[in-house]
């Protein structure tokens, strides 16, 4: 019974995966922003993405900041959902 509430495939597990995904995405953003002023990194990123260089750094700060805001909202929403789910489980245990 409890495995259906907490086990794999449950709402809790799925939401937890969502939080993990957001954390990973934010860590990637942190790495790209930290290296935004590095010419070698810009070249490596361009090679990895297969895009032609446009002169400046390949890291688009604006895009990274938008992605960051997006991930923040996702994380906040998922965390609220997880909190509500825990509250439901708690109230169903207490009856």
């Amino acid at each position: 019974m409890l495995s259906r509430l907490f086990g794999s495939g449950s709402t809790v597990a799925q939401l937890k995966e969502g939080l993990d995904a957001s954390s990973r995405a934010v860590r990637g953003i942190a790495h790209r922003v930290a290296n935004a002023g590095d010419a070698d990194f810009a070249q490596a990123l361009q090679d990895a993405q297969g895009t032609a260089g446009s002169g400046g750094g390949a890291v688009d700060i604006q895009k990274e900041m938008v992605d960051l805001a997006d991930q923040q909202v996702r994380f906040e929403t998922t965390a609220s959902l997880l909190q509500k789910t825990y509250e439901q489980i708690r109230s169903s245990i207490r009856g």
Binding site: R27, A34, G37, D40, F41
Partner: protein, 158 residues
């Protein structure tokens, strides 16, 4: 000027949830090192005689990516600056080898036999543009740091 580029968070391993903070902090240190170099360059824009007797040469901070491995298993601790941790480090500070301008000023104590003085190869316009870029990147890293901090804070309130 510090060229260590060290990340001032912890000396031991840092668990992955805190890794984002370390990465953003490395970006902050890197931009601060660039800021140091720029202020030294501007301060010495007219220094015609350095410690070695030659005109001052523009300092350039070289940044290096610290390899980032997003697939590091959870619970495995990695020290900041170690390969796989991610972020950026200061590889070193190099001098711009280009020659500065020759200015005719026979009264100058550093003037050569023909009355010319070799000026430092510091271009104020270049430094100002670098300064703007450095400040923007510093702010971007600070924003990321703040964002990760609030995510961590939120996850403690579940």
């Amino acid at each position: 000027m510090s060229g260590d580029g060290g990340i001032p968070i912890g000396t031991g391993g840092v668990l992955p949830p805190m890794r984002g903070l370390g990465i953003a902090a490395s970006g902050l240190s890197a931009q601060r090192a660039r800021l140091d170099a720029i202020s030294e360059n501007i301060a010495n824009a007219e220094t015609t005689r350095g410690a070695d007797g030659n005109p001052y040469r523009r300092k350039i901070v070289e940044l290096q990516e610290v390899q980032y491995d997003p697939s590091l298993p959870d619970g495995q601790a990695v020290a900041p600056g170690q390969a796989g941790y991610g972020g950026v480090s200061v590889a070193g500070v190099v001098e711009d080898p280009s020659q500065g301008q020759l200015v005719y000023d026979p009264g100058h104590p550093d003037a050569d036999a023909n009355g010319y003085v070799r000026m430092p190869n510091v271009d104020l316009n270049t430094e100002m543009v670098d300064l703007l870029q450095t400040r923007r990147l510093f702010e971007a890293n600070a924003t990321v740091f703040q964002a990760i901090k609030s995510l961590l804070q939120r996850s403690t309130q579940l």
